[in-house]
Structures are given as structure tokens and as C-alpha cells.
Symmetry: C2
């Protein structure tokens, strides 16, 4: 059974980039041909949307699979469409795995004891894509409930060669409300997210592969570059998932601190800037709705080139 | 459009109890007749499990609807079964709403910006059971991402007459890992969960109904009675959801501090002790698998009687 971090880093080496493409389908922003095709196949509103999401994401997967190591579907947008959306998510994940991509399901789950285990069993397929209903390699997890509630996720991850990414320092403007509260820890003050980081580092060290990375990762936003570099050095065994690059304002130099000396240890996510490149500068005029996949390709190549200056 | 807290408290007054019945289906613990019936209707493993969950939960709903104000389905157990489980959850929620119960979907969701809004729109039907795919009255929400990430949930809740319950102090043994970190707040030290409680109280005050309760509630565990009483007085506008009673060890006197002077302001959850009463003392011998609904009825009545000493 291959270890999650090993599999991820093999994919990063093979593609030569830490670029992670988020799959964030929003119906109002889909290219017109995708919506038209979905309406020809089915009729009820939710079914049309789910069919369009599935088609849109599968086609993005086909475009980016030769270029990047991994994709990150956002569960919320699929869930909004009900069971039909859940089926679409399942199929998109399956399609991405078949295309050789590592799949990180961004669902930010968390609960206690056997309930946490149920979430883990639902999403963490790990090395075998058929190992769970939603066949992801990894899942994002929220830590607020406490260190004991991460354990069931870690156990399932270890058992299946899967990974988890625990929210540590997120990329939103209000991330600091609770994450940056400063408490006394023996002699020196420490922030809440640093305490979470400490727990995550322990779990990662415990589950490390032969290259020193565990199956327990951390989400640390590109919008806080200083924290990113600090967390990288405080968590040497932890693979990072870095959101906030691109549409949220993070640049390549902002994410530079997330990598180890080999350019590994982090994947950097961009969702909207790639998904909806057909409707944004500089691609809208050249490609537009009809050639939206070329816009996805161009935007992905640009991200890969942009990151090549700071990783690998 | 009726306000969530008003609707909840009307139901508490009508039934005369704050007892909340959790719906936590676990396949291995289902009564044999429920499993048998599901196997007669369908064949693949996930479909059998989903059919059994649906039947089991709907029948619990039928038993408890005349006795209690609300039920709380646990999303994780349904999600473990994939899209078929998601459909079962949808039907169970619909059935419970039709039976006049308030439905709190326990899914502990959380994300940033428009992603949080997608979760809110998926689950928060509010006053109109058809207002969302999963037609719940309320949803549990995780606060780690920051105060700004609660806002989209609150906005949708206000718009639809729905509610949210933010995790504040949970009932698991490791709840304190992050929730109890002590930080300096001006003059006096404060714990992380108290800071979360402060944010929740503000949002509740802002959205209060004419009886002074907001549509933003808090999850506070029965296993920490001192914290429960303290939080009750610090959060006068916040409806509480109290897990940890029953199987997790909380007693009626442990939850007493959760109520206001009118016996309102909190609902107390029991899941396993009611769901699987047929297999536990003192009901196993009398009822067993074949009369499992009578065991559910007896266990619910016992909980209602037990709580009557401390609420209403």
C-alpha cells in the first residue's frame, strides 16, 4: 500500500510542479456550451446543474491531468445540489483518479469518535480508488473539536494509504479571530494556530514515509506569507495545502516559504482563476465561452510557470 | 416567516420537554426486522444499508413525534453510504418535518465566503421545508475558520427563518485541547471557547426574536456542567444544543444549568440510548429486536421524565 505523501510527491516530481487545481463549479459562471449540453440531456433544475458540474469538472480534469499532480474538488458546491450533486462529485473524483491525479476532497469535515470515523470512511479511499464511496486520496479536516477527534481520521488514513489536511491557518480575512488568539505556554506566548500546528506535526511525524512526510497535512493560507514560512519550519513532517494563491491575492513569492529545500512539502491551490479563465482577463477576448478549455489550459500553464520560479 | 427560535420554543412548550432525539443509525446495531425488510426490497450493500437507515429513522420519527420537539440526524452516518445515503437523509428530514418536528441537521459544516453560503443554502430550509434540498430547520457549524465565515450562514438563516448551532464547548474527552487554551483579553484571562461564545452571543443578539433568542445557537456539552451554566449566563440570546446526555455520561442535573428561568433556551440531545434501546438495559429483555419501537418509546419517555425535574 503506497503512502499518501509518497504518492503525492511522486506526482509533484513527475509533473515538475506543486500546482493544485481546485474544482469549484458555480452554475452562473459556467461556459454557455456546458450549460446548453446539460439542458439537452436532462430537465429538472438540480439535475441540469449536477450534469453541468460533472461535465465541466471532468473536462477540466482532462485538460490539467498532464500538467499538474493533483485536483481539489470543493464538496460544498456539489452538496448544494443535493444527492444528484453528491453523485456528480463521486464521478468527478473517480474520473480524476482514473486520469492519474491525486484527489484532495475539500469538505472540511470534523466530528467526534465513531462519527469522525464515518466521515473518514466515506471520503478516504487512499491508495485504492475503490476504497471508499467518494474515492479521494485525501480530505480536509477541521480541528476545533480537539486533538482526540483527529485520531479516527489518522487511523483510517494510515490503514488506507490516504491523507488528511487539518485547517491550521486559513486564507480568509477573519482567519485570525480564533486562530491568532495568543496564550501563555510555559515561558513563551503562542498562538492558537501554532498549538494546532504542534498537534498536526506530532501526528505527521508518527506517520512519516521514508522521505519524512506524514499522511497528516495542514492547510495554511498563501495570504499570510510570514506564517507560512514559520509553519513550514515548525512542521517539518507536514505536507502543506496552500490556498489563497491567485483570486484571493497570494503570489508566487508569497508561497515560496511553504516549500522545503527540495521544492517539496507543499501544494498550492488555484480554483476560480483556472476554472473560469474563459471569462477573465487576459483570456476572455481570445477564447471566450466556446473555447473555454483552452483558457483553462492557458491559465494552468501560467500558474505552473509562475510557481516554477519558487518551487523545484 | 417564522423565526427559528420562536418555532423551536413553540415546539418545546407544546411538548413540555427540551428532549432532542438524535438519529444516529449504525448498520451493525439495527434491529433485525429492519435489516431483513431492507434486504427484501433491494440488493447491493450500500442500497440495503441506505434503505434500512431510512426505514429505521422514519419509524423512530413516528414514535417520538408526539413526545418531543425536535430530532437531530447525524449526517456522517448517511454520508458514509454515498449518494444513496444522502437521499435517505433527505427523506428522513422531509418525513420529520411532515411529522411536525423541528430538524437540526448535525453536519458540522464550515468554510469561507461563498463556499459557506453554498453549505447554508444546501441545508437551511428554515420555515419552509421545501426551502433547501436537505430541508432542515437548523445546521451545526464549526467556528475555527473565523467569525467572518459564520456570517454567510447567519445571512441565509435570517433570510429563511432557519437556525445554526456553532460549536462552542463540545462533549468529547479532548474538547479542551484547543477550546480551553487560556489567552489574555485586556485585564483578564479568557478561554478560546469563551471568545467563540462572545462572537456567537453578538450574532444571536443581532438576530433575536421577540422572546430574546437569536437564530444563532451554540453547542455546549452536558459533560462539562460548570461550563454549561457559565455559558448560559454569558450568552442570554443564544439557544443551546446540549450533547453528551445519556450514553456519553451527562445526567439531568448536569444539564440543569443550560436553561433560562422559564426552562427554555436549551435542547438536550440523546441519540444512541434511544436509537438502540432495544439492545440495552433495561429494555433488551422486555422488547428485543422484534418490539424495538416500543423500546424507543420507553427510552424517550424515560428521558422526558428525567429532564422534567430540571426544565419547564
Amino acid at each position: 500500500m503506497s503512502h499518501y505523501a509518497t504518492r503525492l510527491h511522486d506526482a509533484v516530481r513527475r509533473t515538475g510542479t506543486p500546482a493544485l487545481v481546485g474544482l469549484d463549479p458555480r452554475f452562473e459562471r459556467l461556459p454557455a456550451p456546458v450549460v446548453r449540453a446539460a439542458r439537452e440531456r436532462t430537465s429538472t433544475d438540480l439535475a441540469v446543474r449536477a450534469a453541468a458540474f460533472e461535465e465541466f469538472c471532468k473536462r477540466i480534469v482532462d485538460v490539467v491531468a498532464p500538467l499538474v499532480p493533483a485536483v481539489k474538488p470543493q464538496a460544498a458546491f456539489f452538496e448544494e445540489l443535493g444527492p444528484a450533486g453528491c453523485t456528480a462529485l463521486e464521478r468527478v473524483i473517480r474520473h480524476a483518479r482514473a486520469a492519474g491525479l491525486v484527489v484532495i476532497c475539500d469538505a472540511k469535515r470534523g466530528d467526534i469518535g465513531s462519527t469522525a470515523e464515518a466521515y473518514a470512511r466515506a471520503y478516504l479511499a487512499g491508495a485504492d480508488p475503490d476504497g471508499a464511496v467518494w474515492g479521494a486520496d485525501a480530505l480536509t479536516v477541521s480541528p476545533y473539536l480537539g486533538a482526540d477527534t483527529l485520531r479516527p481520521f489518522v487511523d483510517v488514513a494510515v490503514e488506507r494509504g490516504a491523507g488528511i489536511y487539518v485547517l491550521v491557518r486559513t486564507s480568509n480575512p477573519g482567519a485570525g479571530t480564533f486562530q491568532d488568539l495568543r496564550f501563555e505556554d510555559g515561558e513563551s506566548p503562542k498562538l492558537v494556530y501554532q498549538q494546532v500546528a504542534g498537534v498536526v506535526e506530532e501526528l505527521a511525524a508518527e506517520t512519516a514515509d521514508d522521505q519524512g512526510y506524514g499522511c497528516v497535512g495542514a492547510v495554511v493560507g498563501a495570504t499570510y506569507p510570514a506564517e507560512l514560512a514559520e509553519v513550514r519550519s515548525a512542521m517539518p513532517h507536514v505536507p502543506l495545502l496552500v490556498p489563497g494563491y491567485g483570486s484571493q491575492g497570494g503570489t508566487a513569492s508569497d508561497v515560496a516559504g511553504g516549500f522545503d529545500q527540495n521544492g517539496l512539502g507543499a501544494v498550492v491551490n488555484s480554483s476560480r482563476a483556472i476554472n473560469f479563465a474563459h471569462a477573465a482577463e487576459p483570456y476572455a477576448e481570445q477564447f471566450g465561452d466556446d473555447r473555454w478549455e483552452e483558457a483553462v489550459l492557458a491559465a494552468t500553464k501560467r500558474m505552473v510557470a509562475d510557481l516554477s520560479a519558487v518551487a523545484n
